[in-house]
């Protein structure tokens, strides 16, 4: 008995020794700041003076802040457009490539390439592409006879679509790679069975391919949604939340409130709302998965 107890103690000691380096960092840089952020939401603080307890005031003010509301709606607008378009493009590319092809690797390399470039390095091109008077996009549209050309990133209605288009370009290749792996795992025999049953291309896609990759679609959907709620780089670099607040998204709001206006309490409250949204959306997606995911 004593031997057993000592062995368990030894195991505990070794276990914690292995976890410790990570655990210290985890507590100091992740868990601690997370708890501090939850608390900071109840304080008013300019990061220099004393912290002042304000209870739910920060959250109440957020609900009445029209810029916050705009950033909230813009984040959902971005998510509901960028996610389907990115995943749709990624899946489309994967379906095209999912067969024996000459140059298959070359095509895959090309489609994945945008995903590895640094956003800060490529943004200059997109800024130029969207140039209202001289940019190639409007030049092309004009040459097709389109009049009344949008000014893209400078237009209240077109600024967000501009960000969405750039995001699709940046990320579709990443999801293509995931979908390609998933597609190659769908057993060929299923397709043959469907073919023998006389199922056409569309039917095979709907009844064999989609169910076969539904666990991947589910996982990818959660990931893409979370990432799109965190969108920042493209917005900061391309439009700075503008024009007006047409592309002001939650993270951009948090960033400006904290690091340009030094309202650390209010900014933390907004950040906590962001976390809450991510949490709720993820839980809802998990709850709904039985309805359409086949394992």
């Amino acid at each position: 008995m004593n031997m057993k107890k000592r062995a368990q103690w030894r195991t505990d000691l070794v276990g914690y020794a292995f976890v410790l380096p990570n655990l210290i960092g985890f507590l100091v840089f992740i868990a601690g700041p997370f708890l501090f952020s939850l608390a900071l939401g109840f304080f008013q603080w300019d990061a220099v003076g004393p912290m002042q307890w304000v209870g739910l005031q920060n959250y109440i003010k957020l609900a009445g802040d029209s810029t916050f509301k705009a950033s909230f709606l813009n984040t959902f607008y971005f998510t509901f457009t960028a996610v389907p378009l990115t995943l749709g493009t990624g899946l489309g590319l994967a379906l095209l490539l999912n067969r024996p092809l000459a140059l298959k690797t070359a095509f895959r390399t090309v489609f994945f390439l945008p995903n590895i470039v640094t956003v800060a390095s490529i943004v200059i091109v997109w800024q130029a592409i969207y140039h209202p008077t001289m940019g190639p996009l409007n030049m092309l549209l004009a040459s097709w006879g389109v009049t009344d050309l949008p000014t893209w990133t400078m237009d209240l209605n077109w600024a967000m679509p501009s960000i969405v288009l750039m995001s699709v370009w940046l990320n579709a290749g990443y999801y293509m790679v995931i979908f390609l792996a998933a597609l190659s795992n769908v057993p060929q025999t299923y397709y043959e069975a469907a073919r023998i049953d006389g199922a056409g291309g569309l039917k095979r896609f709907l009844h064999v391919t989609l169910p076969g990759i539904s666990p991947t679609i589910f996982f990818v959907l959660i990931m893409a949604v979370i990432n799109s709620f965190k969108v920042f780089d493209q917005v900061m670099l391309l439009t700075k939340g503008g024009p007006g607040r047409a592309t002001n998204v939650l993270v951009y709001y948090v960033y400006t409130q904290s690091f340009t206006k030094y309202k650390f309490g209010a900014a933390s409250a907004a950040a906590n709302v962001l976390f809450l949204i991510i949490l709720i959306v993820t839980i809802v997606q998990y709850r709904n998965q039985e309805k359409w995911v086949t394992y």
């Binding site: 276990g15 976890v19 380096p21 840089f29 800060a120 943004v123 190639p136 979370i226």
Partner: protein, 275 residues
């Protein structure tokens, strides 16, 4: 039937080529813009190779931006973060997967609970902490937090759990301690997972924009994304120089991509399916 198949084949290749051209257009146009003049860069229809090639844009961009320092900083930060994260994640993941210490499952649950907390939520407290320590505007503020990631632990733990216990038992009977078991048996068997984690951590850190934006104010300390976007803000209308600078900044990224793309693609498939 054979004829429709052939037509389908042609349509497929034509669409793939068109999609490739669309995908490559921004990069190709940037390359082309980087050797043009401000007066001709927007010419339409696009002439990809200009009559007079201005390589001097590159010299100009190189002289305006301290690329040496930017690359050095990014390389230093990304390598240290990657090595640190591999080290701490491997040890912790092994303990969570293979050592039955008391409180293990509860502790791991605590890790999982914070998995979805994005950097954007913890950045304010983190910033306050580093500022109070006098470490804002230093590389340490980027390196230290980067060395610890819940995702890394989670990913490797998933992988380590799949390694049969019998293999480890055999090593333990031979008198191997846990550390030796980990490094002589588990790590070699998990090369795929560990190298994917390494490549991804390096890529994320190299491309990270928000954390350096918050922490780093001094130009000599900046990373590539921040330094380059600074250069762009200061010379907002000089498209040719900025494009030349952007091309310079992307050369190492693309070279590394060419050499690691096999592992990158494998890694995405691996992490994409495991999680």
């Amino acid at each position: 039937l054979k004829q429709t198949q052939a037509i389908g084949r042609v349509v497929l290749y034509v669409s793939l080529v068109c999609l490739s051209l669309i995908t490559l257009f921004p990069l190709a146009w940037m390359l082309s813009g980087s050797i043009k003049t401000e007066a001709t860069i927007f010419n339409f229809p696009i002439q990809f190779i200009p009559d007079v090639v201005h390589w001097d844009n590159y010299l100009k961009a190189w002289s305006m931006v301290n690329f040496g320092a930017l690359f050095r900083n990014s390389l230093k930060i990304s390598s240290l973060v990657t090595m640190g994260q591999l080290f701490t994640s491997t040890l912790a993941a092994y303990a969570f997967a293979k050592i039955r210490f008391r409180g293990r499952d509860k502790l791991f649950l605590g890790y999982l609970a914070t998995m979805m907390v994005p950097f954007q939520v913890i950045m304010i407290p983190q910033f306050v902490m580093f500022r109070n320590l006098g470490l804002a505007n230093t590389h340490l503020a980027l390196i230290l937090p980067g060395m610890f990631s819940v995702f890394g632990v989670f990913l490797l733990k998933q992988f380590f759990t799949g390694i049969p216990d019998e293999l480890l038992e055999a090593a333990r009977i031979d008198g191997c301690g846990e550390a030796r078991t980990l490094f002589t048996i588990v790590v070699p068997l998990s090369k795929a997972a560990i190298s994917s984690l390494a490549i991804f951590t390096f890529k994320w850190t190299w491309n990270d924009f928000l954390a350096p934006l918050i922490y780093i104010n001094d130009k000599p300390k900046m990373t590539v994304p921040i330094g380059l976007s600074m250069f762009r803000m200061e010379n907002i209308t000089m498209y040719t120089y900025i494009m030349a600078g952007s091309v310079i900044s992307l050369i190492p990224v693309i070279v590394v991509y060419i050499f690691t793309q096999k592992y990158l693609v494998q890694g995405i498939a691996l992490t994409g399916l495991k999680a």
